[in-house]
Subunit: 222 residues, 4 copies
DNA sequence: CATGAATGAGTGTTCATTCAT
DNA sequence: AATGAATGAACACTCATTCAT
């Protein structure tokens, strides 16, 4: 939880006068503590039912302190995903780049996706359950979805060029088809309170994406 | 979808001798007006931000009147979906029963699903965006999802028996895979503010479910 | 419960055309039903928590009907005690007049008082618990208390004249002393949910009034 | 009676170095101000008609501030009597312990009781008028009454042992007889808006308790 | 007369946000 | 920078009262 924070501190301000360094550390620390406390409370109570007081208590700071770091409750949510989005897409990129075939890339993307959510169940709860509303976070979530769909699109197009993927695809739909299925699988896992291994769903899912459920479909990667 | 309301409104202007009849109609009418107003406001503002006053204004009744018909704000949402669920699943059943092959059944189910949501965009907005939370409505939405997955399961098993559907499927995953994809397609349409024809997505979606995106997969229904 | 009502009807309008008779009976009946329903609900819920709707339900009439007979909720309470006060004081007078000595008169008054409350526990609950407030019913309760104290005063003065009662008494205080003690005994009985015989408290109470709790006091009536 | 409040107000203007001290004082002060404002408003309007807003206005705080110190409206009433009960019973105990004979103890108890209520007329109004209901505060008031009756019982039993008090007494009744009489005397004084000296009623009352109103009763203490 | 659906004023309570310390 | 007490706007919900039928 605090490891990432440390990383960020480093990358932000490498050296500085002791005082400033410490206080910036403190600042970062408190910022991250509030961020995490927010997600914890959002996951537990739901974004709307969560109160600033409870987040402050969870973070071990005073109510007013929240406002020194964040504009308001929604801002905590926003900034959390803003930060995590970068981390996670970097991981996605790395995963994809390490594979050759489109099928493999897709498998690695989805595996990485499921890993990221399995690693941080609170984030998963909040993202799946709370940010799906049209009325809040919409822009941010849409942007995340769009970036994700771009990755899928990239993989599929590469696959089409390489020959492993059908060419007669309605791309916009295919992207939603994949994203939606992965999403639902994560939501189910969240609702099941994480009682089983989410990452193990990746391969069977990819199989369904590639071969579908119909008979007589030969394995395309063979 | 709006048939009930239309009926009631028609009969309002009907002559009738019996007092009880008229008042029952009035009651039904007001009940339905509040139900619809609730969904309208929930769709516009979000369930949490919606206020009883705004729903009452939208329905053209006084605030207190809401409480003559509903226990509280959540009850409006609950009763709406309770009622619609029966309608819609009856339509689903009829659609499925009118088809022979598993593929056709699946196509009809999904078409019917997309039709229902396209017919009532407000309902779609609320269902997709607001009832996805873990913390509220969970039981009701879960039950709806479960019933939907049962239908999918039934179709797939029939298809496996008939031979059109692969037998090596992880059923629980397949159900989610289909539901999730359909769901995402609806959500995308909702976010796009219904600017295109949702129902036309049914056939391409089913094609993806059956054949997947991989090459060399022969058309199973052929 | 309804017997008294019948009496009143008779005394109000003995004969009349069938229609008018019946309707006046109906009116009286409904009036009395509401009155009783009011006391029942006041006793059960407390005057403030009682709602017009609940009284109407208890009386078997519509909410609006209450307002054809009573100004408002407090008016039900007021009229109930207005009516009962006359009944009860008539019984008090009869009881007193049937006795000779002051001691006997006091005993009969108190016995009659306890009887009246024991007969109608709902009334007792409401009178003891709900009308004791300074802010409502004050005038009416004060008047009832004053009339009661007058009776006591009358008895005591007679007793002083006859010689059975001390002459060195601070009358205003003595009246409260007796009323307060009787009152408390009734309240206790009410709180005990009427599990014992209230009337049997009359004699021991009178004994305390007359002899006090000190030793060496010879029985004055001897 | 008002001592606590006075203390706090005094110390408010005191200088003090410690932050914590001041804030604790402030807290106590505000708590006491709300408590007092509550009783003032309850006395003026009645507990039910009193609104949080009016109490807040009377206390010079915002509505929401009330809820920083009290659970709800009833809690103000409850805490007030909780606190006062201890004070007052301590005074009762001290009063009783300073006397020898049972008669004297009883006189001191009643004097102390009347003093306490005379000192704080608002409390007297609320206690006499508002807490007498069966439906609210019942437990607290019953407990207070029970403690009071215990004191009376203790005194009487001692008197019986010493010989000043009759032995043929129905104790449960005697306790109510005394409590009821004192109570009524206080209620009368409250209703008379405190226009006369309540404490002067103590001696005549005790005289009535001991000697009763009958003739030929010799002074037991003589 | 009787009804009971409808009204909307009124209130307890919550909680995001501010600001003096 | 940090605090957390105080604020007061906002909202759900109740219920006495009215009035069209």
């Amino acid at each position: 939880m605090t490891c990432k924070r440390a990383d960020n501190q480093d990358s932000k301000s490498c050296f500085s006068g002791e005082e400033g360094f410490i206080s910036r550390i403190d600042r970062q620390d408190k910022y991250q503590r509030i961020l995490r406390a927010g997600i914890t409370v959002f996951a537990k109570r739901g974004v709307f039912r969560a109160t600033i007081s409870e987040i402050a208590r969870e973070a071990g700071v005073a109510d007013g302190t929240i406002y020194l770091y964040f504009k308001n409750k929604d801002d905590i949510l926003f900034r959390f995903f803003e930060e995590r989005t970068e981390d996670i897409f970097a991981r996605f990129r790395a995963a994809i780049d390490g594979a050759d075939s489109a099928r493999d890339k897709l498998a690695r993307l989805i595996t990485c996706h499921l890993e990221a959510f399995q690693e941080d169940r609170e984030m998963a709860v909040v993202f799946q359950a709370e940010t799906r509303k049209i009325h809040a976070m919409a822009d941010q979530v849409n942007e995340i979805s769009a970036r994700y769909r771009e990755l899928i699109g990239e993989i599929i197009e590469e696959g089409q060029a390489q020959g492993g993927i059908r060419k007669d695809l309605y791309m916009a739909l295919v992207k939603r088809f994949i994203l939606g299925a992965v999403d639902e699988v994560i939501s189910t896992w969240v609702l099941a309170e994480g009682k089983y291994d989410l990452v193990s769903m990746a391969e069977p899912l990819v199989d369904l994406f590639i071969r579908g459920i119909g008979c007589f479909s030969s394995e395309p990667n063979a």
